[in-house]
Each structure stands twice: as structure tokens, then as C-alpha cells.
Symmetry: C2
Subunit: 132 residues, 2 copies
Amino acid sequence: MLIGELSEKTGFTRDTIRFYEKQGLISVGRKERRENNYKEYSSDTLKRLLTIKVIKSFGFTLNETAEFLELIENNRASCDNVANKAEEKVKLIEAKIKELQSLKELLVDSVSQCQTCCSPGSSENCALLEVR
Amino acid sequence: MLIGELSEKTGFTRDTIRFYEKQGLISVGRKERRENNYKEYSSDTLKRLLTIKVIKSFGFTLNETAEFLELIENNRASCDNVANKAEEKVKLIEAKIKELQSLKELLVDSVSQCQTCCSPGSSENCALLEVR
DNA sequence: TTAAACAATGGAGTATACTCCACTGTCAAG
DNA sequence: CTTGACAGTGGAGTATACTCCATTGTTTAA
């Protein structure tokens, strides 16, 4: 199929598919062309792109996705391997959540301080922005 | 003071200070130069950079920081204004946390499915990466 | 036939926040 | 005097994931 059809079937834009091709996530051999030089994308490529979509939906980056794809290609994407990577990602997410929680608390504290640090309607700049 | 001293006092690198200057977050007038053309940074600039540091520590972007700085310059950085912006940021953070929680759950669910979708030691690729 | 859509390629831009590089000039210490 | 650190400027790169632009060629439908 041509890139337009592939785009339709995968939900990725043509440009994104071209980008992935450039990044090496998918490939089209020189021989896989029509007479007019248009690239003929195989159903394997379609499947691969849909797999990419799944992996990305788990929050993995393109680089990480590429790693998964390599495991799949080598038939080494076992549940162990996948679960390990997923657990690592879970840890990163937990850390990020923690970080955001801290930031949120800092902001909430700041806001509540803010409601007491100036008299209402005061035209002074907020003391919270002052150097600490 | 020269940029090296300013860098030391603020914790920002020289390059970062130059970057902020280029972005317009701080400025040095043509007249504020030494005879050798070295920029003379005022204590006001020092204070401004330290304020930038505070605002950034609240999780605001450089663009948002610039908005705050403008409010401060115009003596309009009242507690109301600041609190409003902080509350907006809190909402964004809450949304992001929610998003990350969902992703985490998806991954945790996937991992636990992973432990039942293949028999131990199986050499098959994990079915979780299959198209859904 | 014509115009629009589609395909290809190469290159650059977007957003964000820096960071590095190359080069020239100045200053300070050995 | 010499060398290394510091200052200036302009330009480009890094990371990430696209997205847009310009141009040329092909196909399709009116």
C-alpha cells in the first residue's frame, strides 16, 4: 500500500511515517517500490507501526520503542523483558508524580501564604516572588 | 559586576545569563559597559535573576516567568495576580499527575497481565505488544 | 486538458531551555 | 613576555517528536 493508505490505517500522518522511516523505526527497501518510484509499504510495516503505536501508548519514547522493536525482531520480547522495562517505566512515573506533588504542595502553600502576606487590595508586589 | 560574579551569585551559568539576556529576561544598556566593553551588571539585574530563580522554582516556564517579571515591573504583581497564576499552575500539575497515574495503572495492569499471558520461560514475544 | 491530490526528496522550523563552539579581545599572574 | 582565564559576539547543537516548506514528478477526476 501507499503511504496515504498506511497513514489512514495507522493514524500517523504521512510526515510522521516519513520521520519514523528516517529514524529507522520502519524501513522500505529499494526494491519495494512501484514503477513510478512510489514506496510500497507492506502489511508487515503496517503491523510494525501499529505495534509502535501500542508501545508509545505505554509512555515509552521513540528510542525505547526502537529497543522494544529490536527485541521483537529477535524474538526476545519475552514477558520478562517487557515486564522489566514496564516496571522501570513505572518507577520513573512514580518519581515524576512525586516531584509534581512536591511542586504542587509548594504552590498551594505559597498561595495560602499569599492570602495572608498582603492586605486585600494591596498594590504592593507579592512578597512571595521576593528573593528567599 | 561582571558576568562571572553574577554567575557565581545567582547559580546560573554565564551561558544561561547570556541566553536570558538574549531572550529579554534581563537587559544591559549600551551605557552600562566598562571602558573595555565588558558589561557591567547592576545589583538590580542580580536581584532580577534571583527573582527568576524563585519563579522558575515554582515550575513556571521562561515565558511565564517573563510575564511575572512584567507584572513586577509595573507594580502589578499583587497577591491576587500571583495567586491566580499559581492556582492555574496547580491545576495543570494536577492534570499531569492524573495523566501519569492513568499511565502508571495501565502499565501496572499490563505487567500483571504479563505474568499470566505467557508461561514462565516462554520464548514467545509478549502478547501485550501485539496490536489491540 | 487542467487542476488538485498524492508521492518523493531534502531542508528547515517549532517548542523549551539551555549548552557548546569558534574566534577575537582583555586582563592578570607567573 | 607568555599563558591561561575571562569577557564579548555570533552561530549552531542537544534532546524529543514531530511539522512545515519548496520543489519535482505522478495520478486522478472533472
